[in-house]
């Protein structure tokens, strides 16, 4: 011990420019912040499909971040905040790629598009509600995103495949978080079970839109770029059923959905969500801090 301390002192004396002595830290190799090739240019058709994914992630991130400082415990603030940040990261990479088709930046797309130009599903537009409501919405979205990104990691579009490959590891954890909480809320007190049941009934009408096929992406599916939404349904429903059955809850009957999120016809809540998300960027264009 003594000799080691002497050694450090000698080094410090030699290096008089540096008051901390010859202290080094391991080289930290930072990875690129956004997945996908920064120079890749999307075709207009691909960009339209990428907006489906980008806007789902962006709006869900915005919704979840409202829990910070309101979750049941500070640890859950952190957990939901981390999930929101992961989703924001996916949204940024996807928006950058979608914007490449029209020369727009991620900020142009996030802050300066109006409601009809958004392509998010109605599920992500549903209110946070109580904690059970948020957790059931997370169960649906994380299960859907995991199935989708798993398949998209093999997309013939290399930029989209790279973004999906990075995102899939993160949404797998989001799904685990939602499953753990669903089991605890459903099997907890009478109150938490009632609230879980109510969340299932309120949210299930919006599940159908996620798995509804859409003629507009058919050419992309044929070229192996996009994933057919209905092809994810069986896998996701098997997970919903297995999780809920563990606590003797039934998956509500699937309902046909007429929601038009993928074509810019939105639930009444989106306008308010966008107003809050966009107000700063629109009132002070170009502001930095």
């Amino acid at each position: 011990m003594t000799s080691a301390q002497n050694g450090t002192t000698e080094l410090a004396r030699d290096d008089s420019e540096n008051p901390h002595g010859a202290v080094t830290v391991d080289q930290l190799d930072l990875e690129a912040e956004l997945a996908g090739d920064a120079d890749a240019i999307a075709t207009p058709e691909t960009a339209e499909y990428v907006l489906w994914l980008a806007d789902d992630a962006l709006i869900l991130a915005q919704q979840l971040s409202r829990w910070i400082a309101h979750a049941p415990e500070i640890e859950e603030d952190v957990a939901l905040g981390n999930i929101a940040l992961d989703l924001l990261g996916h949204a940024r990479a996807l928006l950058r790629y979608a914007g490449s088709a029209s020369g727009r930046t991620e900020d142009d797309l996030a802050y300066f598009r109006n409601e009809p130009e958004f392509r998010c599903s109605w599920m992500v537009q549903q209110d946070n509600g109580d904690f059970a409501h948020t957790i059931i919405r997370q169960l649906v979205m994380a299960t859907y995103m995991f199935a989708l990104y798993t398949r998209l990691a093999d997309s013939t579009d290399p930029a989209l495949a790279a973004i999906a490959a990075k995102a899939v590891k993160e949404v797998e954890y989001h799904r685990d978080h939602a499953v753990q909480w669903t089991l605890r809320l459903a099997g907890g007190t009478d109150e938490s079970r009632t609230r879980t049941q109510r969340a299932l009934e309120n949210l299930w009408p919006f599940v159908g839109e996620l798995f509804r096929d859409d003629a507009s992406i058919e050419p992309l599916i044929e070229r192996g770029i996009a994933v057919r939404p209905s092809s994810l349904q069986e896998e996701c429903e098997a997970i919903f059923t297995a999780v809920l059955a563990e606590e003797d809850l039934e998956v509500p009957q699937p309902q046909p959905s007429s929601a038009g999120g993928r074509h810019g016809s939105h639930f009444s809540a989106l306008g308010f969500i966008l107003a809050e998300m966009q107000v700063l960027a629109r009132q002070h264009p170009g502001a930095t801090w």
Binding site: E75, V78, A79, N82, D176, Q180, R184, G188, T189
Partner: protein
Amino acid sequence: MTSPGSDNKDTWPLWEVFVRSNRGLSHVHAGSLHAPDAELALRNARDLYTRRSEGTSIWVVPADAITTSDPDSRGAFFESPAGKNYRHAIYYTASEGVPHL
């Protein structure tokens, strides 16, 4: 007996977190957190203590399960070896002619 959560002042139990870093050999105490049960304590620990890929393994232990020494009796507990130099190996001289010492 009331059910957990029926009282607003109810908080989750405390857990102590031990993380083994990428190069470390043993788990080192990283801090503590609240969680309703062990499975969620592990997940909270992952969110709170391994965000910058610090760890390869996490242990969580209920804080109740840890028995600590009493800080007030430090003298009696830790200082009695003072002066008992024969407890250290260097106190002894090696005998001449004994190999492998």
